[in-house]
């Protein structure tokens, strides 16, 4: 069964045809060619495919594409403003908060959602918020420092 879905991605209206079986992650990557969102475990454990749907961070692998009618989706592609990186992206570079990079889009999206809700999180709050985003390279410390630093800069800006 094919579904015609229309929703917005990073503010732009999009339309797609998808099968019932296709997840939002499949629709983004395979139908809309937006491959910034990565697939990790495919079962909601690793957070690699994190996107924001209606202002909540979710795993795109655990949502059906056909649920998306009328929804607002934000992905990593919408984070930088043209060539100007989002403060989180800039701080991830400065702190070397990534190595292989596969988890990075999901972590940036999840962290952005946190800072929109709480501009001054404690380290504990950052760690709990990102507990569903696995990273096998960094040991998390640089990620947490980058998020804290970005939050401080954004509060000052």
């Amino acid at each position: 069964m094919k579904h015609h879905i229309s929703f917005t991605v990073n503010g732009d209206p999009v339309e797609a045809l998808c099968d019932t079986e296709q997840t939002l992650l499949d629709v983004l990557r395979d139908e809309l060619d937006m491959t910034g969102t990565k697939e990790g475990c495919g079962t909601g454990d690793c957070g690699t495919c994190s996107v924001i749907v209606d202002n909540r961070v979710v795993c795109a692998c655990l949502i059906l594409g056909c649920e998306m009618n009328g929804r607002s989706v934000e992905t990593i592609e919408g984070m930088a403003d043209g060539d100007k990186l989002h403060p989180l992206q800039q701080k991830f570079l400065e702190h070397a908060a990534l190595q292989c990079g596969i988890c990075t889009p999901g972590i940036l999206v999840a962290a952005k959602n946190l800072l929109e809700r709480n501009s001054d999180p404690t380290e504990t709050e950052v760690r709990y918020w990102l507990a569903g985003n696995l990273c096998r390279c960094t040991g998390y410390d640089k990620i947490v420092r980058a998020v804290m630093d970005a939050a401080a800069e954004m509060r000052g800006a």
Binding site: M1, H3, D19, T20, E21, T23, G42, T43, G44, D45, G47, S50, V53, R56, V57, V58, C59, C61, L62, I63, L64, C66, E67, A110, L114, Y128, W129, L130, A131, G132, N133
Partner: protein, 287 residues
């Protein structure tokens, strides 16, 4: 595989009744999609109940009794200030499930219907005496939550029925609840024991009513009536806590697996029941 998103209970009931093959209800999808991907289930029809207002709404008050839609998410419950104040244990049970991402989607209806003995949101609902409104061909029927899971992945709900809402009883003065679980890791893990305690005091520190429900210690979450009884008439002194510990251990019939042996789960059940009772008692005394 068909997908339908009804906007009323009646419409959903008709879709389920008309389906000859396997129909599954979709709320948050955090269990359903995982099981579909693992080929454990292959539904012919998916009925997404998130378009049904009742299933997505928290209504009522502490005094009147809350009604919580089966498809309300853990995050939404955790952000509901008065629900959190009146039923901190029920909110704790829903809010400890999974990560931030899972909290955005996971629901008590799904957690219950997944039928796991370790479901985190269920012990506190059972201890509260919550009921579920089940929609089916002959309308709505109300069943105590404790009667719904009858075995691992087995429910007392027919194929053409689904849970629409949960009803909590009126919250009385000097009463409170708590949910506490033990997991081998600090986060993102399945409980090897989870205990929900709901109790009421006379306002001077003596417990007048108490219920204790424990998950992950038997094929289903269990209401441990003996554990509730030992609390009544006491001020939760040391002897009472020991009796509670013993009653909780006596109710254990757990599995033996890599995450906990029978001996370990049994021992921890007593400890967790005790600590949950202490938290509920402190909360009740401060009300």
């Amino acid at each position: 595989m068909r997908y339908e998103a009804p906007v009323s209970l009646d419409e959903a009931v008709h879709l389920l009744a008309a389906e000859k093959g396997v129909a599954k209800i979709l709320a948050g999808g955090t269990d359903l999609l995982v099981q579909m991907k693992a080929d454990l289930i292959e539904p012919d029809l998916i009925v997404d109940i998130k378009g049904i207002l009742d299933a997505r709404t928290i209504s009522g008050t502490g005094a009147s009794g809350y009604c919580i839609g089966a498809a309300v998410t853990g995050a939404e419950m955790n952000e509901h200030a008065t629900l959190r104040n009146d039923w901190p244990g029920i909110v704790e049970g829903a809010a400890v499930i999974g990560s931030t991402q899972i909290q955005s989607r996971c629901t008590m209806g799904g957690n219950l219907c997944n039928g796991s003995p370790a479901a985190d949101s269920i012990p506190a609902l059972i201890a509260a005496g919550a009921t579920a409104s089940v929609a089916g061909p002959s309308g709505l029927r109300e069943i105590p939550v404790r009667d719904i899971i009858v075995g691992p992945r087995q429910l007392a709900i027919a194929k053409d029925e689904f849970i629409a809402t949960f009803q909590l009883p009126p919250r009385r003065a000097h009463s409170a609840d708590a949910y506490l679980r033990f997991t081998p890791r600090t986060e993102m893990d399945i409980a090897i024991v989870g205990a929900g305690v709901n109790l009421e005091t006379d306002g001077k520190g003596q417990i007048t009513a108490a219920s204790v429900a424990i998950g992950a210690i038997a094929p289903t979450p269990v209401l441990v009536e003996a554990a509730g009884k030992v609390l009544i008439g006491t001020s939760l002194d040391t002897d009472t806590l020991e009796a509670l510990d013993a009653a909780a251990r006596a109710a254990c019939n757990p599995i033996n697996d890599k995450r906990g042996t029978v001996e370990y789960r049994t021992k921890v059940a007593g400890v967790i029941a005790r600590r949950a009772a202490e938290t509920a008692y402190q909360r009740a005394r401060s009300k």
